[in-house]
């Protein structure tokens, strides 16, 4: 059945494929839209990365060297916004667009035109945000958290920031609705929920989170807008408003947002480790329930971001303990991945290398998160470089390595060519070494008391800042290998010979030819094919 389908699909591939700019501007094909998301995310990754280089350059030595403090603050703010909303979230949506229909046996996303709209909002949103660098007063500089009253002091960039955040929110919500609708309505007959690959499961849960929390962020920034322009005082103490309320609302969005950035990586790692261990995933159902538990807990831990703001002792205890509870489902995942590898026939191709680095380094970020969850300790760590080290361990070797692992895993299926393995391994080793050189010393700096979001620092912090900056430049430069490697793979890669690119791979996407045909699963896969793909 699958072979017949594959054969038919190969022929169908030549039909109805638009050409030229219309293919992209009017795109409704999930693969085209997925590709656009990924290219967009990669572009934003390098722009956000360039901003990080400015930050590390300025912090290489104490004293003000290259940029003025206002511009430095703009760089930290814009770097965060670009990386979170421009790089990581669109990259996940791109991967979801490419893989969810292939993995559930659907011909496309359920709402293809909405899909096109969701994507094309983004270039406008980020052009608007980036153009704020050129308006009087400069780009937003009050931090990505946009706390009032500081954010209300921004100049002309303030409405640009708010409008671009609204646009990003609309794009994310529409994208998430599309994913949920596709998974709930377009699964092939026989693809029950507990047969779905973990990447689809984690994305389904991520989409629920997005639908619940992106509107909360939109509501909060709408109120900031009315405070600034229409005389309301939601968050202005002088008029009876409460600036701390904004922080509560923001982190009610902000903490689930962290899981929005990381849960799909859990899904990808859960696909890759069984493939390169040549064993089924240990505890599939436990993984699903652990993901759902993490998502649920993410809604009741937000105030751990604000322990020092001031709250009743009972609330501090509640948020401390609920935060620590997250370690349980996360531990279930880490142990299940480890047990999957136990006595497996392991090989270490680039996707597996990135997945293993994810496992070790994300755990470091998790442990420092537990340290930050302890209220009295947090009073010492808050607003220091320890926090910066913590969340960068979660987001760089966590989310970014998860995306890299996914791209290295599925790239041969997308383009039909194998990439340069040696170069990919260079990319992996350089990234892994430099990411640790970059972020590990920041733990020491934070514990020694260096505050975050400052362009200058006391001289005793010099040595570790120099090390960190060298790591930053190394990490930044080594990322240039990634687009080169993809370009080389597309143009000159050796064609892959089989549908199942990796020996141990299971799942519906590996039943399709490589490259995956432009129109796939026009006929739903048979039950036997689905059963063969469900490797758990």
């Amino acid at each position: 059945m699958a072979e017949q389908h594959a054969h038919a699909a190969e022929h169908a591939d030549h039909d109805h494929k638009p050409h030229g700019w219309r293919r992209w501007v009017y795109a409704t094909n999930h693969k085209d839209i997925g590709t656009m998301y990924l290219v967009f995310a990669c572009t934003m990754f390098f722009i956000g990365g360039a901003m990080a280089m400015v930050i590390r350059l300025e912090l290489f030595k104490p004293g003000l060297q290259f940029v003025d403090p206002q511009f430095f603050n703009s760089m930290t703010t814009m770097h965060a916004l670009m990386m979170i909303f421009g790089a990581v979230m669109p990259a996940w949506t791109g991967l979801a667009n490419w893989m969810v229909p292939l993995q559930v046996g659907a011909p496309d996303m359920a709402l293809p035109r909405l899909n096109n709209f969701s994507f094309w909002i983004l270039p406008f949103a980020f052009t608007l945000l980036l153009s704020s660098l050129f308006v009087p007063g400069g780009a937003p500089a009050g931090g990505w958290t946009m706390y009032p009253p500081l954010v209300l002091q921004n100049g002309a960039s303030f409405p640009m920031l708010i409008f671009s955040i609204h646009l990003m929110g609309v794009s994310s919500i529409l994208g998430a609705i599309n994913v949920v609708v596709t998974i709930l309505n377009l699964r092939a007959p026989g693809m029950s929920l507990l047969r779905m690959p973990l990447f689809v499961w984690t994305w389904l849960i991520t989409a629920y989170l997005l639908i619940a929390v992106m509107p909360v962020l939109a509501g909060a920034v709408t109120m900031l807008l009315t405070d600034h322009f229409f005389g309301t005082t939601f968050f202005t103490a002088a008029g009876g408003g409460d600036p701390v309320m904004f922080q509560h609302i923001f982190w009610f969005f902000g903490h689930p947002e962290v899981y929005i950035l990381i849960l799909p990586a859990f899904g990808i790692v859960s696909e890759i480790i069984p493939t390169f261990s040549r064993k089924p995933l240990f505890g599939y159902e436990a993984m699903v329930y652990a993901t759902a538990s993490i998502a649920f807990l993410s809604f009741i831990v937000w105030a751990h971001h604000m322990f020092t703001v001031g709250m009743p002792l009972a609330a501090e205890l509640f948020f401390m303990l609920s935060t620590m509870l997250i370690a349980i489902p996360t531990g279930v995942k880490v142990f299940n991945w480890t047990t999957t590898m136990f006595r497996g026939s392991l090989t270490f191709e680039p996707p597996m290398l990135f997945a293993l680095a994810f496992l070790f380094l994300f755990s470091i970020g998790g442990f420092s998160g537990l340290m930050l969850a302890i209220v009295p300790a947090d009073y010492q760590y808050q607003d220091t470089y320890f926090v910066v080290a913590h969340f960068h361990y979660v987001l760089v070797p966590g989310a970014i390595f998860g995306i890299m692992a996914g791209v290295y895993y599925w790239l041969p299926k997308w383009v039909g060519n194998m990439y340069d393995m040696t170069l990919a391994k260079w990319h992996f080793w350089l990234s892994t070494i430099f990411v640790n050189v970059l972020f590990f010393p920041q733990h020491f700096l934070g514990l020694a008391g260096m505050p975050r979001r400052i362009p200058d620092y006391a001289v005793q912090f010099t040595d570790w800042n120099m090390v960190s900056s060298i790591g930053g430049f190394g990490f930044g430069l080594s990322q240039l290998l990634f687009p080169y490697l993809i370009w080389k793979c597309v143009k000159h890669g050796e064609p892959v010979k089989s549908n199942r690119v990796w020996e141990g791979a299971h799942g519906l996407e590996w039943e399709l030819p490589s490259p995956a045909p432009y129109h796939s699963w026009q006929e739903p896969p048979s039950d036997a094919v689905i059963a063969r793909g469900a490797f758990h």
């Binding site: 998430a176 609705i177 709930l184 309505n185 992106m214 939601f234 009610f252």
Partner: protein
């Protein structure tokens, strides 16, 4: 003929399901957007 009708019926059913799910989740998003603003107004006016 009956097979075609059955397929049409399935397609129609699926289309209805898609529309319904999209509307439900769109309304949930709208509820969270408006709900949190109302919450703040109510809390602020106490």
């Amino acid at each position: 003929m009956s097979t075609v009708l059955a397929q049409d019926y399935d397609a129609e059913k699926r289309k209805r399901g898609i529309r319904r799910t999209a509307i439900v989740f769109g309304l949930i998003a709208l509820f969270f957007y408006v709900g949190f603003m109302v919450l703040i107004v109510v809390k602020g006016s106490k």
